[in-house]
């Protein structure tokens, strides 16, 4: 199951979806909004919120490609990848990755691969909003 949503991510429906009697391991990863950020050679800044934006159609396709590759490399019985868009406050969940596998090694490796690849290639952008301004993350060298 893959989706982009502007609503809060529903953990229990993701859990229901990946639960299977064939699995010996179910791994969940949540990416959450951290309250502070630091760039090289700059002081720590308090984050007020993050604003996520996606090219929805392409983002879903790219996530599907990542899931397909993961399913070829590891023995994955069920997976969920959900990314949220819109304004998120500190502590809220921006992304959920869940994989169900027969054994834990596959779950850890596949989960890591999925979130790392998602961050590198899926067309989703986040803006950090501070009290005194905002910045699109990683936009500039």
């Amino acid at each position: 199951m893959i989706s982009i949503t502007s609503n809060p991510i529903d953990l229990s429906s993701a859990y229901k979806y990946v639960s299977t009697d064939e699995a010996g391991a179910i791994l969940f990863f949540f990416g959450t909004v951290r309250k502070s950020t630091r760039r090289p050679n700059e002081p720590l800044r308090e984050v007020q919120r993050l604003e996520y934006e996606a090219y929805d159609k392409m983002a879903v396709q790219e996530m599907q490609k990542i899931a397909s590759e993961a399913c070829q490399r590891w023995n994955i019985q069920k997976y969920v990848i959900v990314h949220r868009t819109g304004k998120l406050l500190v502590g809220e969940m921006a992304v959920l990755v869940a994989v169900a596998t027969p054994h834990r090694d596959d779950a850890f490796e596949a989960g890591r691969f999925i979130i790392d690849t998602l961050k590198a290639s899926v067309p989703i952008w986040k803006k950090e909003v501070f009290d005194d301004g905002s910045v699109w993350v990683d936009a500039h060298p």
Partner: protein
């Protein structure tokens, strides 16, 4: 028959250009590389980005890929999901 390429904009490119999409004369950009050069020329702030890619019909496109008015085209600034 339309004569303009429609380019969708997201994130920082939407803010730099100040619109959700722009139209570009199709006769002035036949390939992805032409389109990027034209936009960088028109909006110099695009040149300061860490990277700038183009997606054609929902797929990352090579610089020499042709573009036409029938394509769904999007500018892809550095991604930062997760």
């Amino acid at each position: 028959m339309p004569k303009e390429l429609i380019v969708q904009l997201f994130g920082i490119t939407r803010e730099i250009i100040g619109a959700r999409q722009i139209e570009v004369e199709a006769s002035s950009a036949s390939r992805v590389s032409d389109l990027l050069a034209l936009l960088r020329d028109r909006y110099p702030a695009l040149g300061g980005l860490r990277s700038l890619l183009v997606a054609v019909n929902g797929e990352y496109a090579d610089p020499d890929q042709p573009v036409s008015v029938n394509d769904e085209i999007a500018l892809i600034p550095p991604v930062s999901g997760g």
